[in-house]
Each structure stands twice: as structure tokens, then as C-alpha cells.
Amino acid sequence: MTTPTRPSLDDPNLTIPVDRAGIFEPIPPARTERQQEFYALRDGEMLLNLGPQHPATHGVLRIVLKLNGEQVVDLDPVIGYLHRGVEKLCENADYHQAICYTDPLEYIASLFCEWSPVIAFEKLLDVQVPRRAEYIRVLAGELNRIASHALYIGFFALDLGGITPILWSFLERDEIVEMLTALTGAQLLFNYFRIGGVNGDLNHDFMSRLGDWMSRAGRQVEAGTALLNENEILVRRARGIGILDHETAFRMAVSGPNLRASGVPLDLRRAHPYSVYPELDFDIPTRSEGDCLARYLLRVDEIKQSLRIIDQCLHQMPDGPVMARLPRLVRPRPGRAYAAIEGPRGLYATYAISDGTDQPFRMRIHDPSFVHLQLLGLLMPGNLVADTMAINASLDPVMGGVDR
């Protein structure tokens, strides 16, 4: 397969339209085998750019689609539009500051982005976190998980054309965010977890809002799902689309709800427990179909499980300090630590290397959305352009985490 060349304007057998206005980007030179394979266009195929500016790509994601009419033949996702160099920035900041850098990665569920490095640093420092702090972390984390899943449901419907559930999801999320604002002081990037605990105990405002909300928890999400779950149009568009099976999921290093929707009951909160999850009682919803509908329904089920966890946290909350005593500038002894948590999108991990100074030597962040975007190239070919949106939405990518 050779790299295609630009057509000559005098060629009498010219069958492809000529770029009269000179506005289309030239096909880039193919540097790798895969690129060569991708950019060789057969008869009837065209390249369409689902560009970084698009109403429905969940952030700045560029997908170059190779289409045969309406059918996707191949695709090449291009990322990096939101790359902020967080790992490099963390190397030049000290341990407490590094946690602030990790918030905006998966901004929809930013507490999880803080949780993972915090656990890794606590391992480096051999810090014991007070139990109350752990319970508060679980509580706030599960609230954030519900908010993230509620938004997922809304965006899933929006990408398929239903414009109402997203606004109902935002109502649900608004309540949770206001609760977390009362607790943490921030609305999106909470900056709440600290090495050794959390920043501030539960306060009256938070507890009263939480108590209030628990009586009507998930009602907007239920309204949204009632509108969608039995809707023939949505079901027809999501069932059987983008089927991911067991073996492929492991081969693609998939984790989280995408993996559980393919029949693998792997949840890090049970498989490799951290924090106080061993003391909490909850189920792991699993579905075996592996299509978009299964991924969507699974996250709806997970919201219910999260509500159970929140309930138990409130009942089992122990007293005590919420923060271990640590110096302002921490200097862990040289070593390496890896901490992985179950984020709303999957396995969110941090690998931290310390060299004895007050700045991390290397802070590697493993984001699940980054890995899951590779599934696009696997699941989309063969489907129509309309299904690309369904599959993209069902995988729940957050570009902040993908690009870091």
C-alpha cells in the first residue's frame, strides 16, 4: 500500500473532486505502518474529520473517519489538544502542590483524580490516614461518582438526539455539586483530599443538604432513565452496537464500567480494596452483552450501589481527626509507589517515584479514558456515522484525562 499522492489537475481520468479553493489539509505523510494503512483510500472512500470542534465529541477530540458513504471503514483518533503537561508540572512542584495539579484531569470526577495520587504519596510516606478521613473520602467520592454517572446518562442521550435528559441530569448534578461546595468550597475542582486525610471535617451545611437530598436522591436520574430505558428509538440505536467481548476487553486493557458491561465482574473496590471499602456492603453490577445499551444501563445500576455506600458511610462514620499530622514540606524516602482506584470511568492509577527531595521525581498518571479511546478504532468500523456518536458516548471519555 503506497501513500496516496495529490492528483494532477490535468489528469483526464480524474474522478475525485479537486480542491479548487485549496482549503482542505493535505493528507499527512504516513510515518508508521498503521498510518500508511489508514491513509490509503480505496475507491469510494473519503476522509471526514470529526474535528476538535464538534458538538458531541466530549471535549477536544479529533477523529479522522474513513467513510464509505455512511459506513465507517476505519478511523484514527488524534488527541493531545488538551495536553497540559501535568506530569512535568508535578515534577516541579512539591507533594502537596502536585495534588492540586491533578484535579483538572478528569474534571467531571475530580475527587478521584486527587484520591489516587494521595494514596500513592501516603504509601511513599507511610502515613496512616485516620478512619474518619477515609469514610469522608468514600462519601465524597461516591457522591462524585453519582454526579459523574448522572452526567454520563445525560450526554449519552444528548449524543443520540434526546435533548431533555441532559438538563435533568444537570439538575441532579447541581444538587450534588452544591453539597460538595458546602463541604469543600469549590464547585468543580474540589481540591479537598490531602496527604493524610481531607481538608476539613463535615459541616452542618453539607450534612443538612445531604440529608435533604437523600430523600429524593436520584429522582431526576430516574426520570431521565424512565424516559430513555424503554424508548424504542434509543434502544434500537444502542442495542447491539459496539459490542465489546470479554477477551477483547482484556486485550485492550479496559477497566471499570466498560469492562463490567462485557461480563467481567472486576471492580477494584472489591478486587483490590483500598480505603474502607472492605467494611462496606455493596454489589458489583455486571452485564454480559457488552454493547452500548449495557454500558449505559450498568452505570444506572452503579448509581444505586453508590447510594447504598453513601448510606452506610453516614451510619458508620466514626469520630476522630480528619487529617494526619504532616509537615508542610514532606520528604519521603526514595522509593516507588503505585496506587490504583476505581474511578467512574475505570482504573485510575498513579505511579509516584520519590528521590528523597520534596518534589516528586516522577508522577505518572494512568487514566482510563486514554486507554478506552483505543476501543474506538476497534468498535466503530462497520457501523454508520450515527453510531460513532453512540459508541463514543457510551465509552464515557473525558478529554482532560486522555490528554493530561
Binding site: 486485550r251 505511579y351 516522577r362 505518572r364
Partner: protein
Amino acid sequence: MDRALKARLERRFGDRLAGPVRQRHDETEIRIGAGDVPEVLRALHDEPELGFTLLCDLCGVDTGTVMQAVYHLWSETTPDWLRVIADGLPREKPRVPSVTFLWKGAEWLEREAYDMFGIVFEGNRDLRRILMPDDYVGHPLRKDFHLPDDASRSPGGGVRPMESPGRPADAAETTVRRRATAG
């Protein structure tokens, strides 16, 4: 801290390990050479008593003297994370065999390690930059990569080395160049 795992690993890979099996908290760490990566990882993946089927992370590390490719794996057979460090990659031309034959999902992770460190994964069909633009020069996460600093504060007119611990202030200044449109 799974002692049984340590024993199993030493028994299975004894001669290939480039250092002792270290364990701390809930992580077990082994070091191997770059060339052993395919066999060791295939053994870890395929053998039922090891069964490390889930790839949890693949990254590069620049220790300042050598490069490393670090793999994190999870198995149902042990409560520990397993960290496999492919150590001793030369900093000028780091090369490691790719693990995309085991996990196709490692393709992008390897692309990212290549982009950030310049580690070439042999066997990866699509080894090009992923986060940085295609025609970028330099590998950002390397320790000898210097960020351009505020032009107003710099006598050099835009770039000076970042002051980092252990790095002398009179280190050679390098600039980050962007090649003009690639042909």
C-alpha cells in the same frame, strides 16, 4: 505484601531478574533487562499460576542516568500489584520490544512513552507522537528537556533551564525547536 508471589517469581524468572524482588505495601517489583520483556511478560500473562492478565499501566521513567519502561500488572492470583521495570535502557537510544502482541491496548501507552521520552518500542505498528504535535522536536518528560521560561525574566530571550534539584544552574541552555511544516 505477598511472600508467596515473591517466591513464585524468583522460582520462575530467577536468572532473568536484574535485582531482588522488592516488596513494599501491596506492590511487588521485579527488574528485568529490555530484551527479556517479551518472554517475561508473556509468561506472566499466559501462565495460569501467574495470570497477570490486566495491564494497569505502561510508562517510561527517566532516572537521569538510564531510562526505564515500567509495567504494572494485576492478577486474580495475588492481592499485590506487580511492577515490572525494564531497566537499563540507554538514554540516547532507548529501545524496548513492544508488548502489543499481548495487549493491543498497550499501543497508545507505548506511543505516549515514545512521545514523552523517546523510548522506541520495537514492534509497535503505530509508533508516532500522540500528545504532542506530529512535528514536535524533543521529548518533554526527559530530564534534559527544559521548559521555555518567561521571556521577561530571562536574559536569554525566552528560554532558560528550569532550576530543578540536582541540576546545576549553569547547565547548557537548549531551546525547544519546532520544525517548519514537514513535507
